[in-house]
Subunit: 294 residues, 2 copies
């Protein structure tokens, strides 16, 4: 099989039979050697579990430290089973998947403000940023805080629109979005959206259940007919699911030496495939690895 | 409809009925005002037209100025109808779609070298780079040359792995890839691949015929069974198609004032949706716009 990219697992297997030569350090070998303590399970209250028609499950980590009011609304909506029976209604290539209530007519439960505070950025004070060591096009300082990709400038900090990040749909400013519509980034990071929308989370697992959907033929990738929409069967906080139905996911601790080593090797690939290590890697190319299972 | 992003078309329509207020400059308004002379039709010899099962057509522009031997091989393969009956065999989420001959057993036509020169970079001499005005994580100088995203360093220049770019699959170095397998980038730009593989082109239209395919369940996103593969019905140079079947596509001239204006407004969005223009935009977020039709 002529692949343009040997998987790290294959590379390791090949090297294991390679007359005792030392296996090269690869992204996969760094992860395999990371101690169990470097893998952090998000709190069950911070996991939104969406079951879609067709047996697809999408698990989203929520970011209450960055958008507390919006995250509280999403928790309330999930606990009210408010998303159940709604749809994925928009798939725009190289941009976003969007889901929720396209009619905007479904009443919001008590305690969910229609226009919460913007929460597009917050004070950087109190955030322990693990700085990303390579320059960024958009901000002078970037890095990760507890698994979240963050940019900083002038004492303010904000989440960045990397692949898989989840935000709150809104109309034109001053609308800020209730949480009735959410979107996930499914293409090259549209960082110009940073600080213009409330980012509230990240798809940890199951994004292929959304990215492989047909693109919508209407403007901005909305589906033309109701029949094209993909139903959301249920959306629950993991804390509201029976133990047996909860997802078991962990995220590599971005303050750990293992994460730093992984970023370094991603920027400096020296396994057999590569002829010229890049010497750098951009923030959105090193979204923290996710591990499923126990 | 509560959309998180008003389409420029919608915005213009709204402004048209807005009591005579001046319409804001948007990416779409810049493109609408670009003169016809700013839209360049690629030469028919530089367009590879792939018709896939299910009525999907993918049109790829080839880049002979950057990978002349590989492009010559692809032209020979297309003229020999060599790709016909092969498959899309790999779809890896946030990474690549790959197609061709996964068995590596189909004999190559005469004149197609199994391991051509690497062509991962070339001399920057003679290339008229329109410099991208914002900093890049990977290279000190980037920009566009005749519609192609390019990075430069130390007198060398190379194409960059942006969304939609097409490259030649290869095994471990020193393999360089014959052209029997090609891939397209379908996720966040994996720029660490730059200068490690021969990039040969860009998908101009129809990428959603590949990006919306199911992800493969084997390692690296290969399909597990032959039945999952999507057949390539035919792959032809536009110059070998009857006039009525040729695609009509044009790319915005990256040396034109219209392109510079479009990049500037992409970096500084001021239409009603945006509350804070980014002030910058990365190279892979401004891949040259493509227009279909006459």
């Amino acid at each position: 099989m002529r692949s343009f990219f040997l998987s790290a697992a294959t590379a390791l297997a090949l090297f294991a039979g390679n007359g005792g030569a030392a296996a090269p350090v690869t992204p996969a070998s760094v992860l395999a050697e990371a101690p169990a303590s470097a893998w952090v399970a998000p709190a069950p209250d911070d996991l939104l579990v969406m079951d879609l028609a067709g047996g697809k499950r999408v698990v989203i980590a929520l970011a209450p430290d960055f958008a507390p009011v919006h995250v509280a609304s999403i928790r309330t909506l999930a606990r009210a089973h408010w998303y159940d029976g709604l749809w994925i209604e928009r798939v725009q290539d190289n941009y976003v998947v969007q889901w929720g209530d396209p009619t905007e007519k479904k009443p919001l439960p008590a305690g969910v403000p229609a226009d919460p505070p913007a929460e597009y950025e917050r004070s950087a004070a109190g955030l322990a940023l693990t700085e990303h060591p390579y320059r960024d096009t958009f901000a002078d300082r970037t890095g990760f805080v507890s698994g979240w990709p963050v940019a900083e400038d002038g004492g303010q900090a904000w989440l960045t629109h990397c692949y898989g990040m989840v935000g709150v749909g809104r109309g034109n400013a001053p609308s800020t979005g209730s949480g009735a519509e959410l979107y996930a980034i499914i293409g090259h990071a549209p960082r110009a959206l940073d600080r213009n929308i409330a980012l509230v989370g990240r798809v940890l697992t199951g994004i292929e259940g959304m990215t492989a959907l047909p693109r919508g033929s209407e403007a901005m990738g909305f589906y033309k007919t109701e029949g094209e929409r993909l139903p959301i069967l249920s959306a629950r906080l993991a804390s509201d699911l029976p133990e047996a139905q909860r997802p078991h996911v962990r995220v590599l601790d971005t303050a750990s030496p293992a994460f730093a080593a992984w970023v370094k090797v991603r920027a400096n690939r020296k396994d057999d495939f590569y002829v010229r290590p890049a010497g750098a890697i951009d923030l959105c190319s090193v979204m923290p690895p996710v591990k499923e299972g126990d």
